[in-house]
Amino acid sequence: MPTDFDDWFVREILAHERPLTQYLQRCWPHRDEWHDLRQEIYARVYEAAAHNRPVAPKAFLFASARHLMTDRARRGRVVSIEPMGDFELSNVYLVDEVSPERWAGARQALKRLAEAFDRLPDRCREVVWLRRVEELPQKDVAQRLGISGKTVEKHLAKGMRLIADHLHGGEPLHMDAEHARMTTDEDDGHARQQAD
């Protein structure tokens, strides 16, 4: 049940994931919280905007990010405020202007998508291709590759997350141990998985 508002959210809020992520990375010292912070910021913006859609969505997004970080800092969830960067917004716009991928035309977007796709581990990449490009149903993908339906589902879910990270963010925010291995050592890690 996609709504107009959901479309608006994707277009006006999620489109700024890259500068938002960079902002969090600069301002918040605890890298294992970046993912959680980002999700909570999105949730807050979603709730607030559902009542009253902001006229300047991007500024609203960054203001929400700043408020949330201030709240969390105040609630003592960080031990020291010292290493935290500057919450000021002055740099944020610059950041976005340096990376205007989203608006650089369809060819550029296609290039980015190709990059995201090429970064997937081998088997995951194959599964995504067969499902999304050749449009084989999931069970035919399983048959073609000689793997179980469950495994196809796992690869698709993983592909979806990795591609989302790359398309929206440009940098994966997967910093816990498991994901760090997956993203830095993708192919080796995957070879082991495939051998199973």
Partner: protein, 345 residues
């Protein structure tokens, strides 16, 4: 602390389950409940869904690639002609393609002898097939190309066709042509018109070349439209056109309209002898008639050019079109030997 990742994983699993093909109303209900349970669920779902939808555009990269094989990494020739990639085929495939090519070449010669009306300028069998086609004003020509595809040329159109082992190239020099492309995943079918490249594997579409724009109408399958960089050197977008697309590529970029296929087919009614107008300016309608007739329609003033007309008309029968105009509109026709001039009344 790591709830956010669990939510991301759960959202991905929902999307995958919905994609599985056995989605029921109860599943939808369960998903709706999950989405309503927390805004975090909803935003993560939207985030992954948006990216997942975007991956559908990978199909634009697949145009011209053999089906059934996942291309190697970095094989994308985003700036280069896709046709180049076809060279990666195995030798066995080359042999098959060549044998098929020759068989079709023979079939095509036979077809041409029967059709007879196609003006056949040249056919050189020197390792590759090359042929030129032209149709006269008011003539439609349907020809079978060397690969088994058929091309229907509209009035006053010219094209040069080159078939080689790796490529099928059609250069549309003038006018409009409709293609029913024989499926051959190893050999992309590429139509070039005024610097634009329209790339297909097996599909039906037309390409029309006008002084100001190139128009592509797709009625089956998918084609990819590549444009040369603009005057400012900036790359122009690649468009993937599914069936029902009507794309107009002009100096200011590419405008794509997505129509129901039946409606898109109305742009191709010329093949059965008709022109279809729907709230079309008389200026445009007259230009359409003029593509098909040696006796041209001329508009004497702006008032008459702006009249809106609609309906189906036989393009060969410009006289009855003019009579209908005189009956239904404030138009006076001045009938000269070589043209008909329309005036406001």
């Amino acid at each position: 602390m790591h709830d956010s990742r669990q939510i991301e994983q759960a959202a991905a699993e929902w999307l995958v389950r919905r994609d599985r093909g056995d989605w029921s109303a109860r599943d939808q209900q369960a998903l709706d409940d999950w989405l309503r349970a927390a805004s975090r669920h909803r935003v993560e779902f939207l985030r992954l869904q948006a990216a997942w939808q975007e991956t559908g555009r990978l199909q634009a990269l697949a145009a011209g690639l053999p089906a059934g094989a996942v291309p190697p990494r970095q094989a994308w020739s985003l700036g280069l002609p896709v046709a180049r990639m076809a060279h990666a085929r195995s030798d066995a495939a080359t042999h098959v393609a060549r044998a098929r090519g020759w068989r079709h070449a023979l079939a095509a010669s036979a077809a041409l002898a029967v059709v007879g009306s196609a003006i056949w300028i040249g056919w050189q069998l020197t390792g590759r097939n090359e042929a030129s086609y032209a149709s006269g004003v008011g003539q439609l020509e349907t020809v079978t190309l060397a690969d088994g595809s058929t091309a229907t040329f509209s009035s006053d159109s010219r094209a040069r066709v080159r078939m080689s082992r790796g490529e099928r190239d059609v250069e549309l020099l003038q006018g409009e042509a409709y293609f029913d492309v024989a499926h051959d995943a190893g050999r992309p079918f590429v139509v070039t018109a005024d610097g634009r490249r329209v790339i297909a594997v097996g599909t039906r579409f037309s390409v029309r070349r006008d002084p100001q724009e190139v128009r592509v109408v797709v009625t089956e399958g998918k084609v990819r439209l590549d444009s040369p960089p603009g005057a400012d050197g900036r790359a122009t977008p690649v468009s993937l056109l599914p069936a029902g697309s009507v794309a107009s590529a002009g100096r200011n970029g590419v405008l794509v309209r997505s129509l129901p296929v039946a409606e898109a087919e109305r742009y191709l009614e010329w093949r059965s002898g008709f022109l279809t107008f729907d709230d079309t300016s008389l200026a445009t309608a007259a230009a359409e008639f003029n593509r098909f007739n040696a006796r041209k329609l001329e508009l004497a003033d702006a008032g008459v050019a702006e009249l809106r007309v609609g309906g189906n008309f036989r393009w060969a029968n410009v006289d009855s079109f003019v009579k209908l105009l005189e009956l239904g509109f404030p138009v006076r026709a001045e009938r000269l030997a070589d043209r008909i001039v329309l005036h406001s009344r």
